[in-house]
Symmetry: C2
Subunit: 254 residues, 2 copies
């Protein structure tokens, strides 16, 4: 256990870890070729963080890059009066840390669940980019995806009402974090109602009421805490007016 309270696995452990890593075939790692991945692996440190741990704070220097292996991280910005906007959630395969290395973080990041990441210093990452210049294009494409995702978030916040907002969020998370180990209509939702509210630009009460309404209408079920089952996907899709949910490879948190 390190001084900041996180478990760390260095060098060889991390190398072993990559073989069995749940994120190997996901997100950022899946976009790297063997040589690039081997190089990164060399310097990677695995970090296991408890729930509700702050990874970085807005406007404070943040000199690490994390690739999320397991768990969920929320990104947010605070207004001076305490209002908060969650700008995104990161899950397996997503990246936390600015490509504009060594600069101050643009938002705060906090773990929602226990989180396992693979991380390196900005220095390592800079050397990595020098050695594998084609990765800059990979990152540029990922950043482009992130911009498109932000636009979809803007539509959610600007054009949708409470029901549409929640329906869209459930469909997106179901799509992004679905895995073979989970039934296709089930989704992992470890965030609190307050987190969801701050992402959707609603109050906690409105989110809660909308959940209750969806349950009463048979659109969803909540078999246990942190899990939602979509019981009527077509109706949810109709609500947001599209036939399918936008696809997305990697999310970047900065």
């Amino acid at each position: 256990m390190t001084s900041n309270g996180n478990y760390c696995l260095t060098g060889d452990d991390a190398t072993q870890g990559c073989q069995i890593c749940g994120a190997r075939g996901l997100g950022f790692c899946s976009l790297l070729d063997g040589a690039a991945l081997s190089y990164l692996r060399e310097y990677a440190v695995a970090e296991l963080m408890a729930r509700r741990r702050t990874l970085c704070r807005e406007d404070e220097p943040f000199d690490r890059i994390h690739i999320i292996h397991r768990g969920v991280v929320k990104l947010f910005k605070l207004l001076p009066d305490g209002r908060r906007q969650i700008t995104g959630f990161l899950g397996p395969g997503d990246i936390l840390g600015s490509p504009k290395l060594m600069s101050a973080s643009h938002c705060s990041a906090q773990t929602v669940t226990e989180v396992l990441t693979c991380s390196f210093t900005a220095e390592v990452f800079t050397d990595f980019l020098r050695r594998f210049p084609e990765v800059a294009m990979t990152l540029l494409f990922a950043a482009t995806d992130e911009i498109e995702a932000s636009h979809d978030h803007a539509i959610l916040l600007g054009c949708h009402n409470a029901r549409e907002k929640l329906a869209a969020l459930l469909l997106i998370l179901n799509h992004r974090w679905n895995s073979d180990s989970r039934p296709p209509d089930e989704l992992f939702l470890p965030m609190t109602r307050s987190d969801l509210a701050e992402y959707l630009g609603l109050s906690v009460e409105t989110v809660s009421r909308t959940f209750s309404a969806f349950k009463a209408e048979g659109l969803i079920a909540t078999p246990r805490s942190g899990v939602v089952t979509l019981r009527n996907r077509p109706a949810l899709l109709r609500m947001i007016g599209f036939d399918d949910v936008p696809v997305r490879n990697v999310a970047i948190g900065l």
Copy 2:
């Protein structure tokens, strides 16, 4: 005049144009060194477009990159039922076109004013990136800025009320599009109330009422159509709760 109704200046004209170009010291062009700029200049075509001309449509192929020299472009996405979210405005120095070249456009783009751009095909741009690989990093930084700007837009949409939204927009535009030829507290606002409403996630009527309220309170003045004067910047800044407005180099529209 070309088949699509735009004026075009090719090769030599564009080369001449760069020397006196208003965007030379702005945005994307200001981030390129002499060699890179000379190369691009070689293939650049100047295009002059009338007001309300559609540059590209969501989900349709768009194979050009434009650097905006003069004028304003709006970017938006449409919902199936006709609701519209404007995701951003582009001005001098900003880029229109996805770095993920040759792909379908992610949003629609329409000129708000008459617009003069410097443009090239995606093919030219791909060759350019091959020849000047360091530009990939420049674009990555620009994309990072764009992500940060999107987060600020999310705060606007999710946390702010009508007054705060308008105050923030006025301050941001005053900061971004200010030039020496204009008094520091004046700002160019060629967009319709409807454009502003769709950017801010409000109805036209609410935007109009908020403008009227700001004028009545002496916060702003509208000396003539398309121009706003900030008469009490400190009060507007207090409204959004910050001491200054976030800086931004280039905007990218995709």
